[in-house]
């Protein structure tokens, strides 16, 4: 299949029928298995990609002071039923640059696909970096996703990441993100995942608030049905003066599913403040009864409550 056909197929799998539907000034990177099949850059964005045996090594740079007006669109995918894809990602957002990336990871036919990512990310002083990861999986659950990231967020910098499964079975998801947060930096990491059948979800997220007035929120919203299982380990440790952190873990568990949440919070400075909130259980009875009293069936009401939990609107809001 030609590169342009692969780009079209990748984009079609995420609901973009026309690859030219992305505007001309949208930066794009498309990778199928270990081939870079599409690449378009804009001023201030540098991308070097080397193909390896089972994936690619990508170096991404956003030059100092550059504000990318539109999100960079990334598409990583494996279209066959089986395959391996390892992404080695090296990202540096230089001083005062602002950039957001919308990354679609698509494995629509996966029966035995393994997608792994190792990322080193550095957000320089005053820079903003947002990485929105949207996954499209197949119906078989034969997908393993293992992203690992080490992130340094320098003074006055911001790092936001969202992981969302928008279609298909979770399969096996295990991710491990660690952030080091310097003075006045802001970090928000969110995962919204729905698991069913024998899906397995494991999340390890750590934020070390090293700097004064650093802030971090780790948010995990998970819905499980059937025999799915999830384990969430969120850890915020504050060292800096007046650092603020919050861990928010909500899991709805139905049928025979099992969920475990381990929020870990630690404070090494008396002026710092870290909170956590964990709720695991079936759907909230009051919410359920309200929707039943509007005429929804129990299944319809449960689906709507889960839709809310997994929605982008379900952001952490402090009382």
């Amino acid at each position: 299949m030609s590169s342009s056909d692969l780009v079209a197929a990748l984009l079609q799998s995420i609901g973009v029928d026309n690859p030219h539907g992305l505007s001309d000034n949208t930066a794009r990177i498309e990778v199928h298995e270990n081939r870079v099949v599409g690449l378009k850059l804009v001023p201030g964005l540098k991308v070097d990609a080397d193909e390896t045996d089972d994936g690619i090594n990508v170096e991404i740079r956003v030059e100092a002071g550059v504000r990318l007006q539109k999100p960079v669109h990334i598409c990583f995918g494996v279209l066959p039923e089986d395959g391996r894809q390892h992404i080695d990602l090296d990202v540096r957002i230089h001083q005062d640059a602002h950039a957001s990336f919308l990354a679609h990871c698509t494995f629509p036919n996966a029966v035995d696909v393994r997608h792994t990512m190792t990322a080193g990310i550095e957000v320089e002083p005053g820079a903003h970096y947002a990485y929105f990861e949207r996954h499209v999986h197949g119906t078989h659950g034969g997908i393993t996703v293992i992203p690992e990231a080490r992130v340094i967020v320098h003074d006055d910098a911001e790092f936001t990441t969202e992981f969302e499964l928008i279609k298909g079975r979770a399969g096996q998801i295990k991710f491990d993100y660690e952030t080091l947060c310097h003075d006045r930096s802001v970090v928000e990491m969110t995962a919204r995942i729905s698991g069913r059948a024998d899906d397995r979800i494991e999340i390890h997220e750590r934020a070390q608030l090293l700097g004064d007035e650093a802030k971090a929120a780790l948010i995990s919203h998970i819905a499980l049905r059937d025999d799915a299982r999830a384990e969430i380990y969120n850890d915020v440790t504050a060292y800096g003066a007046r650092a603020r952190g919050h861990v928010d873990c909500k899991e709805i568990v139905l049928d025979r599913a099992i969920a475990k949440a381990v929020p870990m919070v630690a404070v090494h400075n008396p002026t710092a403040h870290v909170t956590h909130e964990a709720a695991i259980g079936s759907v909230d009875s009051r919410q359920l009864q309200t929707l039943l009293s509007r005429g929804l069936t129990e299944d319809e009401a449960t689906d709507l409550i889960i839709e809310g939990l997994l929605s982008k609107k379900a952001r952490w809001t402090k009382d």
């Binding site: 009864q289 929707l291 409550i305 809310g308």
Partner: protein
């Protein structure tokens, strides 16, 4: 004509009677108020009529439009046209006002939902895509809940303390919505302690200690409730021999 007929209704929890032989008729197209001191059983009455979880094991009978509600689930009751507005509405983190209000409605389009919100004094564009969560005030949630009820076009609305947690301006919008429901032929049962709410009703029932003490004109029931029940120092121990009106 009676839309809802309650006959010798009793309800108890842990062996303690909460409702005790209630017989009441609620006329179609009228606004009824149920007043009484805390613990009189008013909310239990509303929850039992709605058939909420934990309230289905009652004695006596509840007939809606001539049909017994025994064994009828909450959602089936709702599809028959019965609904309940809670004293403190539930929050739905992440669920948009548009999705929540449209949930029980045949019409889920934004223009329709926006119109319902605006009838309750909420600027549609500002609220449609907001989450029904803790960022909304109690009064905003109360009005959004009422919008979800208007969207259902129900026949019987049970409202538990409709004025609880809201300001006077918002209350006017709620009263306007109640009039709209009544004009559409709906029947409203308001559980209340408030004179302002009571005055919106066509008829009132006075409950004490799970029993019906009196029913009738708003002015008489209201006066007795304000003068005698509110300052009462023997709560839920009614003066059995005294004629209250």
């Amino acid at each position: 004509m009676s839309l809802l007929s309650i006959q010798n209704l009793s309800q108890s929890f842990d062996g303690k009677p909460i409702l005790d032989g209630l017989t009441m008729d609620f006329w179609e197209g009228h606004i009824h108020a149920v007043v009484g001191p805390n613990g009189a059983g008013k909310s239990t009455l509303a929850n039992t009529i709605m058939g909420l979880h934990g309230y289905t094991n009652y004695g006596g009978e509840i007939f809606f439009d001539g049909q017994s509600l025994r064994g009828v689930s909450v959602d089936a009751r709702a599809r028959m046209g019965i609904t309940l507005a809670w004293q403190e509405p539930a929050r739905f983190e992440g669920l948009s006002v548009l999705r929540f209000v449209g949930a029980g409605s045949k019409r889920k389009d934004p223009a329709h939902v926006k119109g319902l919100l605006e009838a309750l004094g909420l600027e549609g564009e500002r609220y449609l895509h907001r989450s029904v969560d803790r960022t909304l005030s109690g009064g905003e949630r109360k009005r959004i809940e009422l919008a979800s009820i208007l969207a259902m076009e129900p026949r019987l609305i049970l409202m538990d303390e409709p004025d609880s947690g809201i300001d006077v301006a918002a209350l006017d919008y709620i009263f306007t919505a109640l009039s709209r429901l009544k004009n559409q032929g709906a029947t409203v049962i308001m559980i209340t302690h408030s004179r302002a709410v009571l005055e919106q009703a066509d008829h009132a029932f006075l409950m004490c200690n799970g029993r019906l003490r009196e029913k009738g004109e708003i002015s008489k029931i209201g006066r007795y409730f304000i003068d005698r029940c509110i300052p009462c120092d023997h709560i839920n121990e009614p003066d059995e021999e005294e004629s209250i009106l």
